[in-house]
């Protein structure tokens, strides 16, 4: 039994087309223990989904290029596994749920069949059909879908219900790791809370580790033990939940994220977005990727790429905190 369930080291991923190279992920590392929930927060285009897909080796075949790094799941080097072995892992020990429930389900396959498929694919101990269908019913109940709806098609369900089906499919084989990529973003606000609390409950019940990808700090606060803030393919800040939410020092981007949340208690005239735009991943800036938008930008920021500065469990990738600049 290994110390970490998941170990990722210095992962670099590009999307290579004939015309250009998109630097989606630029050297991230993290570890995940059993039962822990790791949150990755960042804007669209930060590289979060790419990271998630890479863990399951689901990057698009022709364009997705994993340039360097290692991914170890329960001690096994995932990048060295055969496709067949990866397929045994997917859905069984590592599962993923995606953002848009509207398009994640096969429109011409009954819901019950889609869930049963997850079970049949990993039916190593030769369960019979009856057993599988019984387990399917169990799983549906787990996510709160009435048994009489199991032979319905996806389009007959609402958005929130569809996402429950997606979750049911992912959890059918009781995986050790669940990767949730913005699972509630596409849902109505009122349903979001329901689905989220269901995910948390199931996680606790099954003792799963989870990677929660989101742009919503509120969700991070409710679900995660460890957090990383992702920008332009890097973790600009990472640490425990306390580090990120109540710590004193922060990466300017993190400050910007927190600062842009409207404060219900204080009357303001304007919102505080972070000025500027996310950098073009085909033409990343010299030095710190955040420098063009950073209110605290110094000369060195534009020239030298910042290194990680560690303060115990809290890591910040910023020249503001580095001993080199501050002596």
């Amino acid at each position: 039994m290994n110390e970490y369930l998941l170990e990722v080291e210095d992962l670099k991923i590009d999307y290579q087309t004939d015309l250009e190279t998109v630097h989606a992920v630029n050297g991230i590392s993290f570890t995940l223990e059993k039962g822990q929930t790791f949150g990755i927060v960042g804007e669209t285009g930060a590289g979060k989904t790419t990271t998630a897909l890479a863990l399951l080796r689901l990057l698009p075949e022709r364009t997705g290029k994993l340039r360097q790094g290692t991914i170890r799941f329960d001690g096994k080097d995932l990048l060295k596994q055969s496709l067949h072995d990866m397929q045994s892992l997917r859905g069984k020990r590592m599962a993923m749920i995606f953002q848009d429930p509207m398009t994640s389900l096969n429109p011409v396959m009954r819901v019950e069949d889609q869930i049963a498929e997850a079970l049949m694919l990993h039916n190593t101990d030769g369960k019979g059909k009856a057993e599988i269908m019984a387990r399917t019913d169990e799983v549906l109940e787990l996510v709160g879908i009435l048994p009489e709806r199991k032979r319905d098609y996806p389009h007959q369900f609402s958005g929130g219900m569809k996402q429950r089906v997606v979750i049911a499919m992912a959890l059918a084989c009781e995986p050790e790791l669940l990767i949730a990529d913005e699972p509630t973003t596409a849902l109505d606000v009122t349903i979001q809370a329901q689905v989220l609390s269901m995910i948390r409950e199931l996680r606790d019940r099954l003792g799963m580790s989870m990677i929660m990808i989101t742009h919503d700090l509120g969700i991070i606060a409710q679900t995660c033990d460890k957090v990383a803030v992702m920008y332009a393919g890097e973790f600009v800040e990472s640490g425990t939940l306390e580090d990120i939410f109540t710590g004193e020092e922060h990466h300017p981007y993190t400050q910007g994220l927190f600062g842009s949340i409207p404060n219900l208690a204080v009357k303001t005239d304007r919102l505080n977005p972070i000025g500027g735009m996310v950098p073009d991943p085909t033409k990343l800036p010299e030095g710190c990727y955040f420098s063009p938008r950073c209110p605290h930008c110094m000369d060195i920021c534009r020239q030298v790429h910042p290194q990680d500065v560690k303060r115990g469990t809290h890591t910040i990738k910023c020249h503001l905190f580095s001993e080199v600049t501050h002596g």
């Binding site: 397929q87 045994s88 997917r90 993923m96 995606f98 429109p107 011409v108 007959q156 499919m169 992912a170």
Partner: protein, 310 residues
């Protein structure tokens, strides 16, 4: 569900009514009158006037239209041929089976050849198994069907002598018409199937299937294929309807005595009732084909089925 079927069936009627009126007005554009055509050049004005009156041609246009519609829809009576003076419907009925057979063989050929190659091409994208069919289909869809037919006739009938050069008395006679009519459409089927399959392979639910641990083969066969083929059903129907039009030229080329040949001949001899009858029947056949395809689609796609079951 049945409500939908009946509703769609009923919708055809106004369309066919419209088609009848359209054809009637188009034919009204042509110069001359029936009697002159029937009696020919040497006839006297008197004889012409008398025959016209007998045929009801002296009535106002709208009356003639109304009477024509009534005859067609209530009695299936398209009038009598100017040439043979016999009911048009008879010569049409005789020709329909042959035309149907030719079109049916051609569409089957197009689908059986085009669809599997399209699927293969999509699954093996970027490889030779994709490039060769794609390039070939580009050429094939640029080929005029009747030119292809002529070239095939030259090679197989005239030079090699292994296939008949005209008529469909034996099964061999169907081979060349089927290929020359079907091959350009096979290319269309292939390209459409390929693009539908490519799109499906990129969809989110296919990604979900992979994430569940399904092997690529299963992903293609169990998830992608069915979804990709649904729109292909509709396109095949559209192609079949287009084929009914293209078959006119094929029939001419191979001297096949179907509706198309009948139509062309009657145009040449100015036999207006037959022209109108053939056009109407062909349009009706097209509409029916499209209807059948729509219904088939509704049966096969659970989303549409549900929509019309309420």
């Amino acid at each position: 569900m049945w409500k939908y079927v009946i509703k769609r069936l009923l919708l055809i009627i106004p369309i066919l009514l419209g088609v009848t009126i359209l054809i009637f007005f188009v034919m009204e554009l042509s110069p001359g009158d029936p009697a002159s055509t029937i009696l020919g050049a040497g006839a006297t004005q008197e004889a012409i006037d008398m025959l016209n009156k007998e045929l009801g041609y002296d009535r106002p246009m709208l009356t003639r239209l109304g009477s024509y519609i009534a005859n067609v829809f209530l009695k299936g009576d398209f009038g009598n041929s100017y040439r043979s003076r016999l009911p048009v419907i008879d010569s049409i009925v005789v020709s329909i089976p042959i035309s149907l057979r030719v079109a049916f063989f051609a569409i089957t050929f197009a689908a059986v050849v085009g669809i599997p190659i399209g699927v293969l091409s999509a699954v093996k994208q970027y490889s030779l198994l994709d490039t060769i069919p794609t390039v070939t289909s580009l050429f094939l869809s640029a080929l005029p069907g009747f030119w292809l037919g002529m070239m095939l006739l030259y090679l197989f009938a005239l030079k090699l002598g292994i296939l008949p050069s005209y008529g469909v008395e034996t099964w061999k006679g169907f081979i060349l018409p089927t290929i020359s009519l079907g091959l350009p459409y096979a290319a269309q089927e292939m390209r459409f199937t390929r693009s539908s399959m490519l799109e499906t392979i990129r969809s989110d639910y296919v990604r979900t299937a992979r994430a569940k641990g399904a092997a690529e083969r299963r992903v293609i066969w169990r998830h992608a294929l069915k979804n990709a083929l649904l729109p292909v059903i509709t396109v095949t129907g559209t192609i079949f309807a287009a084929m009914l039009g293209g078959a006119v030229v094929t029939e001419s080329l191979y001297s096949i005595p179907g509706l198309g040949s009948l139509l062309v001949t009657s145009i040449k001899i100015k036999d207006t009732p037959t022209v109108m009858g053939c056009t109407f029947v062909l349009a009706a056949m097209c509409s029916l084909v499209l209807l059948v395809v729509d219904l088939l689609y509704a049966v096969v796609d659970p989303r549409i089925k549900a929509k019309y079951s309420k």
